[in-house]
């Protein structure tokens, strides 16, 4: 097992380097010249040949003439800058946001907590509903109520989340006026402590409902099919033949077997809702990572975009790693094979 874990981690590190290099190259395609930018303010006071000389010197000292691999190394903090010091992601220098005029880390601190909170909350809500629902449907397979849920779940996973959001805003915010249309926190109100938390929760209510609803379809279908698979196994027949109570058969004998594929799915799906929350945040105007990312791309604030992109990459890589490990943990064949 230890060998398997090491192997996976090592592999993930390699993938991280490849993907991050790819991102770095991509961002370098953007035509921008920090050296020219630096000299722009004093350009008019200099003679052209002096300016040119200064410009070339500056390019050299900033390391802009070096091959891209070297610059990538510096950006990550593996290779020293021209001045000899290390200053990259490894040294916690995540770039500077030109739009907010702040280091990226400071910009990101508030949105990240909102996004993570939203995603975890939505996951808990969704799991709390889908698992019982999936089991119930599997047990009552073929009944009218099951068919009804199945049709609804097709709607749930076919319709894009932003359409669900529009419909829910219309129903809950415009017609029923239960929730606010958008935003996070009552404007102008300076709540503190518990009151602030509940105010935020009130504003996050509708986005959370939308995110939960959007994930109901796919999840409940998956739980249902895993459960049907488990219920058709021979040991279930044996248990029933022995006269074990139906409740015990379902929740102890069958569910434990169905749990394995579901657990692995949950992690993969948890990553999926990060991109789902991107849409929800932009629709509801919530100040989260997704909205920040869209803003930064729109504002051409590319250092911030790169940082957020790296955040998404790391989240997805770590998620994939955990998924692999769980797979290996629950299914011994995998760790033996590899």
């Amino acid at each position: 097992m230890a060998k398997y874990i090491c192997k996976r981690i090592l592999y993930m590190v390699v993938v991280f380097f490849i993907v991050s290099f790819f991102m770095y190259v991509l961002f370098n395609l953007i035509p921008s010249d920090p050296a020219r930018l630096e000299l722009e303010s004093i350009k008019t006071t200099l003679r052209p040949d002096v300016y040119n000389q200064m410009y070339q010197d500056l390019r050299e000292s900033m390391g802009l003439n070096d091959p891209i691999l070297v610059r990538y190394g510096r950006w990550l903090g593996f290779l020293p800058e021209k001045s000899g010091s290390f200053n990259g992601y490894l040294q916690a220098n995540f770039g500077y946001s030109n739009f907010f005029k702040k280091p990226c880390v400071e910009v990101i601190s508030a949105p990240i907590s909102t996004t993570v909170f939203m995603n975890i909350f939505a996951t808990i809500l969704a799991l709390g509903i889908t698992i019982p629902l999936g089991i119930w449907c599997a047990v009552h397979k073929g009944s009218h109520r099951d068919n009804f849920v199945q049709v609804f779940s097709i709607v749930g996973y076919s319709v894009p989340i932003y359409i669900i959001a529009l419909v829910f805003i219309y129903i809950f915010a415009v017609i029923l006026r239960i929730f606010p249309v958008s935003g996070i926190g009552t404007p102008g109100a300076n709540y503190t402590g518990l009151k602030k938390f509940f105010d935020e929760l009130y504003y996050l209510g509708l986005p959370l409902i939308v995110m939960t609803f959007a994930s109901l379809g796919g999840m409940s279908r998956y739980v249902r099919s895993a459960m049907i698979e488990a219920l058709s196994m021979d040991h279930i027949k044996t248990a029933r033949a022995k006269g074990v109570k139906e409740r015990v058969v379902i929740y102890s004998h069958a569910w434990r077997n169905a749990l394995l594929p579901v657990v692995t799915l949950i992690i993969g799906w948890f990553l999926g809702i990060f991109s789902g929350s991107l849409l929800v945040e932009s629709t509801f105007g919530i100040n989260g990572m997704g909205r920040l990312y869209i803003q930064s791309l729109g504002n051409h604030d590319f250092e911030l975009s790169l940082f957020v992109q790296m955040f998404y990459t790391v989240v997805s890589l770590v998620g994939a790693l955990i998924m692999d490990l769980v797979y290996g943990f629950v299914d011994p064949r995998i760790r033996v094979n590899k």
Binding site: V15, S158, I169, V174, I294, A320
Partner: protein, 622 residues
């Protein structure tokens, strides 16, 4: 191979006679897997429902663009946020056979009957608070003889020469000149003509004096002294007007020195019998029947139909059957009434305002009322014939564009992008998966690592990034291809893994061993024995992937990183809809695109599920 030849054709299998009596064993025996799948699929009610609805939508968006052509540069400030209505040309009952005057507005019509009652129809809400349907009490009581309609105001004239204005008054639309405020009974002027421009109005007295009032911004509404007292008729365009004088000449009455309307053609200095104006052009009819158009002629207003019988008229569809007597102007079109009681229209036909119904050609038309995109023709029996803009079946958006047209054309884009992306993804996936599954070993290892790298890239953010970085540097159509390629290239790993697993599984099966034992060539084994087994799964995957790609494209467009405006897609039609005002008041802007898109993806998923059930009967109910 021999087995295949004996099979009936695909059509015969679909529609052929299957009533031959067979016992269960025979039935079991002759049913090939393909036929079984087909019958499984045909018997799946949900799947068939999905297929039929999808095909309908497909036909709708791929045939529709020929009927509803889109003009990408289109924007019309007179048609902003019009709800789904279809009764802009439907006259109220009271006007039937009793029309005194009709004036056509942008989205509404206003008219009065011979008894002096006023009627208004169509979409009359100008803003939240201003509704033209709220006709002032005094107007309802007065005996109205003439009406005129501007963009957001209505002018009415009663038998006593009193002028009434209602609607939007904020820009001076009701600032009627002092001279005209006195009714005739108290010694006021005798008004013979009223007209309305965009936000301005004009009136002509029987003494040949014209008066203009209203929003003077950008307007040239002053009257030169030398023309005062000589005017017989005036025509008002959006911001300018021209005058027909008592000596039969046409003049530009305003004070502006150089504009498009100033340069009146030489021919119009005498013998002119009628004048009219569209939004940006003016036209005059001479007594010999020649029509001359001048101004900013940009929307085919100058393409006057030829007289019947002339050499150049032979190939034209629309011809003038007689000498034109009177001319009327809409916003971008003209309608002329001819000697023989026939009418002809020309100009911009985006709202069918020049498509004259056949019933009109048969009738003896007495007079025509034209304005904006509407035409009303009254024949000798008092019957009203209408043509032009009836309304927008699904409403319009914030730039006055018809939602139905955009849904149809946007659907075509969305489906094309989704389809091409799926094809790219499937091609890469099949090749990579095939290589990995077939060769195995180190190649397999390498391909799977590559696919995992692609899988590790967070999809949506990355696609947005690519679109933001590369997309800004290329033109719109290239950007569409970019989206297709990005979608295809980023989604292949799933297909690759599926194909690889399938090929690995099939390779180990007995029938492959049997084929190998019989000495079948390697290539034949792959293509004839393994691939058909993979195809079923591939079909399911491709169908579900198609829905996913459409979703992703629309998601990107919704966020503003996909197909850029003004080209419509189902996603970017919704991108302006996520604020409470649109959601609440302009519901048609998001309900219809959402509805058709939701139905479409649901149907595709239903089809995919049905194919899966048909291909693998074991999965039914899972």
């Amino acid at each position: 191979m021999e087995e295949k030849k004996r099979k009936p054709s695909f059509l015969a299998r679909l529609f052929g006679n299957r009533n031959t009596q067979t016992d269960i064993l025979m039935e079991e025996h002759i049913q090939s897997p393909g036929r079984m799948m087909l019958s499984n699929f045909l018997h799946n009610k949900l799947g068939m429902f999905g297929l039929i609805v999808f095909l309908l939508i497909f036909a709708f968006v791929f045939i529709g663009p020929y009927l509803f052509q889109i003009d990408l540069g289109e924007s019309d400030n007179t048609q902003i946020h019009v709800p789904p209505i279809n009764d802009m040309l439907t006259l109220p009952e009271g006007l039937d056979g009793n029309v005194q005057d009709i004036a056509a507005g942008a989205t509404f019509g206003v008219g009065c009957d011979k008894d002096g009652h006023i009627y208004i129809w169509g979409y009359t809400k100008i803003t939240d608070t201003i509704d033209l349907r709220n006709i002032p009490e005094e107007v309802l009581e007065a005996h109205i003889v003439s009406v005129a309609a501007g963009y957001d105001h209505v002018v009415a004239l009663d038998e006593n020469g009193q002028i009434y204005v209602w609607g939007n008054k904020r820009l001076g639309q009701d600032r009627i000149p002092q001279d005209l405020r006195v009714s005739r009974t108290k010694g006021g002027k005798n008004i013979i003509q009223i007209e309305a421009g965009y936000q301005c109005s004009g009136a002509l007295t029987d003494e040949g004096e014209v008066y203009f009032w209203g929003n003077t911004n950008m307007c040239d509404l002053d009257v030169k002294k030398e023309y005062r007292g000589r005017v017989v008729k005036f025509a008002i365009a959006t911001y300018h007007y021209c005058l027909l004088l008592d000596d039969g000449s046409v003049v530009y009455g305003g004070l502006e020195k150089t504009n498009a309307f100033n340069r009146i053609p030489e021919a119009l200095s005498s013998d002119v019998v009628d004048i009219a104006a569209t939004g940006d052009t003016m036209a005059g009819v001479k007594s010999d029947g020649t029509i001359i158009v001048w101004g900013n002629v940009a929307r085919h207003e100058g393409e006057i139909p030829e007289r019947e019988g002339t050499a150049s008229a032979e190939d034209d569809e629309v011809v003038m059957t007689a000498k034109p007597l009177e001319i009327y102007g809409g916003r971008y079109h003209y309608t002329a009434l001819m000697e023989n009681g026939d009418v002809v229209s020309w100009g911009d036909n985006a709202h069918h305002q020049t498509t004259i119904p056949d019933s009109v050609h048969g009738a003896q038309i007495e007079t025509v009322f034209a304005g904006f995109y509407q035409n009303y023709a009254i024949d000798v029996n008092g019957e009203v014939h209408t043509w032009g803009l009836k309304g927008h079946p699904l409403g319009t958006d914030d730039l006055g564009r018809d939602i139905l047209t955009r849904i149809i054309n946007g659907g075509q884009t969305t489906m094309t992008v989704g389809f091409v992306a799926v094809v790219i993804s499937i091609i890469i996936g099949v090749i990579m998966g095939g290589i990995a599954g077939y060769f195995g070993g180190k190649v397999d290892m390498l391909v799977m690592r590559i696919s995992e790298i692609f899988g590790a890239i967070p999809f949506l953010p990355f696609a947005m990034l690519l679109s933001a970085i590369i997309g800004t540097r290329i033109d719109v159509s290239m950007r569409m291809y970019l989206i297709m390629v990005v979608l295809g290239v980023l989604t292949w790993p799933a297909t690759c893994r599926l194909i690889r697993a399938q090929i690995l599984a099939e390779r180990e099966k007995e029938f492959v061993t049997a084929a190998q034992a019989m000495g079948v060539r390697e290539g034949a084994i792959i293509f004839r024995h393994i691939l058909p087994n993979v195809l079923n799964v591939l079909l399911v995957e491709a169908t579900l992937e198609f829905a996913t790609c459409m979703l992703t494209e629309s998601t990107l467009s919704y966020l503003g990183f996909g197909i850029p405006l003004p080209a419509p897609t189902w996603g970017n039609m919704l991108s302006g809809a996520n604020n409470s005002i649109v959601i609440q008041q302009y519901w048609w802007r998001w309900v219809f695109p959402s509805l058709i898109f939701g139905v479409c993806t649901i149907c595709i998923n239903l089809i995919g599920d049905a194919i899966r059930d048909a291909v693998d009967p074991k999965s039914i109910g899972r």
